[in-house]
Symmetry: D2
Subunit: 319 residues, 4 copies
């Protein structure tokens, strides 16, 4: 293998640039030519492919977003779309592809690998919801963005003795809400992995008030319900007044944390090694404090249950 | 005058704690006893008044919110409510009151002063919308919070080549939106002080696209319309897809910037001097790079037009 | 066991407050009375011990430093000193002690446990250098503080096309230097665990210049040599001009990151459980992505070698 | 005038990129061709001059440092050096030059203007020490960097009950030390504009201890003495133990604050207007809350005394 390519796909996540840099630098270190595919699978089909040298990824390790851009590409779900992508790569002599993205992005990589073009996946999504790895790029940065917002909102919650609802990202996975809620000292945390009883939330709020607590923070993952819906329920059921803050897209951006940069560096470099070792159709990941790899097919099986302990702990510490 | 009190009222703003600290420390330096009134005018009526010593305001200069808390108090708009407030103060031998807050808070201070109890106002609101002063406490911190959010959102806007609408605070005043928009390099800025033509915004967006711009940021002050409404208009009028981010209450919190802390220190100390000089019914402010004072009544007249130059400049620089 | 106490000892680290909060809240949740010992072992001997309720640890999860303060205490190394400490605890009916600190602090806990007073250790040090745990509280925050400094210095290094040496903390352990160096994209990283050849560093700098690199960042852990000494060596050996920045004590402070807060919460809560389970003379830690516990004696054996891979990777990626 | 150029010179300062962007965008808005000179006056002599379009300054408003780089250039102090610089500009049809930098950089602009080549200065230095303007680009960002460091160091100072000395930049001007000291709640502030009596500092420290203060922060501008020298004096004169932190080059970097970005935008745009109005040999500045311009020669006269009030206030508030 003499030439490889890298692309980013799906929602952008902090650390993607650091991973791109690692792929390019490690590839060059190993004597490869490394190409960047711009605009994800869509750009692959359109042939938006450029050679990257060591300097072209200088000064990007600290940047949010992805210098290769990203986009959705329904066409790549078809065999014809993928065939065109492979043609674009082969025409340039590229023999392996590294895909940085979430599980949706992995499907393309898996299909390509199955069809004979070697791909390796690198987990990049703030949701931390990729099966098989303890950790995805961007989660740590998003976590710190959310707790920075919680810290700010707590200032005003305290000053006005109010209850705030903060809606954070997470359609299917509550990791961001749960970690941020624990780190932000939230009084209640609602995540998609658990059933929520509005009555219990109200009881907790009232117990807090009974103990002299004059403000409260509730975190709700968007996959449970919207912040506005939760506010309406609390108002209807118990006449509790709340303010709602929807954090939105700020959660996706920002300079990656140290941890995201280091793991991106490890992941990107390991992905290059895997291609060189002839391993295709696998993803890199973090398990038990070590970089591992595993078949992409594992990703698409059901995600393992989340950490029970942390959810229970959040309740014990927010008394 | 041997005893004075300080309270915060209205929406909290970063720098209020630094101003409280300055009032307390300067008062003690001048040989006064200084009291804190908790929960604004409501707490004043309820007698939530405690003496503060130099140590009680240690380690607060860097904190957002207000250690004295704040609340709304319709009762204080009545002569009876104010009479009870004065009784609470007089009963403790307190002869002067410093009110940190926005123009709504100033009305109470003005009424009290007129009725014979000396008050001095300190401008504290992130909106920068108090007539007579170039600057209000909290504006600089809120500005930096907003541009931090814009910087983050630009990461994702660039990566996905999208147009984002960011809704910021400001019902009547567009200062925050305008400064943040210029500082964040926004393509269009909508503020309450100007009429906006949806057609012009669309033209600008299309010109940008024509020049190869692949993403755009639009800032809209809440007083103009909601971000969602703007998105709907762009969609209806020109089929332009946008994403909306409502920054919400994070804009009120956070550790104050250096500038907010220094000005809070100057304002708080000057307010104490004014009470000692027998000047009542005035507010401190910043004009022409100097701390000034002026009658509270000036605040309630119409606010002077905003800086024309900056709005025009924002258009010239976002080509 | 009905009453327990908690103290912090040694150099302060971000996350200590979050751990104190977790001990107090978890203890109360389990029906215990929890006491705080102020000023570390010195305060223990002096009886600076106060009961903490749930509210006394409110609003501290986000704060750097330690609300219990810390100090050195040579006296506690003597049996007499420790006997006095135990007397102070027993006199209040306290039957277990949680010590948050580094390996020096663990020696006191180990001695106490051996002498019959149950202690549990919680790893708190920015150096990440405690044997038996993959992770210590404060490391993640310090890492982000250092990379924030590197990012800033890179701005000026680039603008002036200069080589900068940044000296970071770490007498015996290079984790902070290594992680920060990788995350900051440093050209060379000098850590105590490796021999360094000034000739190789010079060669790398010159190769970089040869490839058109106009600025460089070198990270040196204080345990290797001072930044000034490294600058002198580069000047003497190859007439290379550098600027030196010694980051110093800013590395110890700051609001803890999300990760430090969450792990502090887990560690603190687990420490309480261990006391309740009758486990003494152990420390909590993180291994393989799980909270574990192990005998304090393991800490004092030689630390396992550091991660080889990351050091090699740092060289491959900084080409 | 159809073509103009812009360069940055002297120490880099946050906001320089925002000013470059404003020059380029405003110039293009006015129908000009705008050129960037790389590497300051040195690059001017060497002809490192490139045309910049609107896109070439996209995505730089938020970046520290200067994309045009900077360097020292003794040769430009000679008439021959300047003649070569003018030749390089004239050869490209460039008729005006905007110089962003400190007072040293202004000397070149002043000499060129006198010799017939129109120049306009834009004040860019973190020291805030340019005569004739209340404000220089970079000061506000540096101020916030310093107070962020003070806030961090205070965490550890409090935890260990120690006295810290923080050395900040400022050879001749104490603005940064003074503002940061007030904003950081420092107990003593030493600036070049004032004589300092070590005895008074000791007295203040002891008074603080007498009142129960257990930690202190002293700020010293490098122009007064080094932090180490101050530590030695306190040790010698009164056996006071201190820790020293030298903030160094982190003070020059970082993403510019909102204020620095907005003022940079105003300054850069106004500089273009001045060239178009045929005004040469002037600098832009901020006075009385308005953008002004004044002859470069004024800069080289003695700087006006600094704000007395703030220094006195710092003493009153740090009781």
């Amino acid at each position: 293998m003499k030439k490889i390519a890298v692309l980013t796909s799906g929602g952008d996540a902090p650390g993607m640039n650091a991973a791109i840099r690692a792929v390019v630098r490690k590839g060059i270190f190993e004597g490869l030519d490394v190409f960047g595919v711009f605009n994800g699978y869509q750009g692959l089909i359109e042939g938006k492919i450029e050679r990257l040298d060591a300097g072209s990824v200088g000064d990007i390790i600290q940047k949010g977003g992805t210098m290769l851009h990203s986009s959705r590409c329904p066409e790549f779900k078809t065999p014809e779309g993928r065939a065109e992508g492979v043609r674009q790569l082969s025409e340039r002599g590229i023999e392996g592809l590294i895909v940085i993205g979430g599980d949706g992005s992995y499907r393309g990589a898996q299909a390509l690998s199955k069809e004979g073009f070697p791909c390796v996946g690198v987990p990049g999504t703030i949701d931390n919801d990729i099966n098989g790895t303890d950790y995805t790029l961007g989660f740590d940065t998003a976590l710190n963005t959310v707790i920075d917002a919680i810290d700010k909102i707590r200032d005003t919650a305290t000053s006005h003795e109010r209850t705030f609802i903060i809606e954070v990202m997470g359609r299917d996975a509550g990791d961001l809400a749960l970690w941020a809620g624990v780190a932000g000292g939230a009084e209640s945390i609602l995540i998609p992995e658990r059933l929520h009883d509005i009555g219990e939330i109200i009881t907790r709020l009232r117990q807090g008030t009974g103990r002299g607590k004059k403000h409260s923070i509730l975190i709700v993952a968007e996959g449970v319900m919207s912040g506005q819906d939760l506010a309406a329920k609390l108002k209807d059921a118990a006449d509790i007044e709340t303010r709602v803050s929807v954090l939105g897209h700020i959660q996706r951006g920002g300079s990656p944390t140290g941890r995201d940069r280091v793991l991106a560096s490890k992941f990107g470099a390991r992905a290059v090694e895997l291609l060189l070792e002839g391993r295709a159709g696998v993803a890199v990941g973090m398990r038990n404090h070590a970089v591992i790899d595993y078949p992409l097919t594992e990703v698409f099986s059901r995600r393992e249950g989340m950490e029970d302990g942390l959810y229970e702990l959040s309740k014990e510490l927010s008394i």
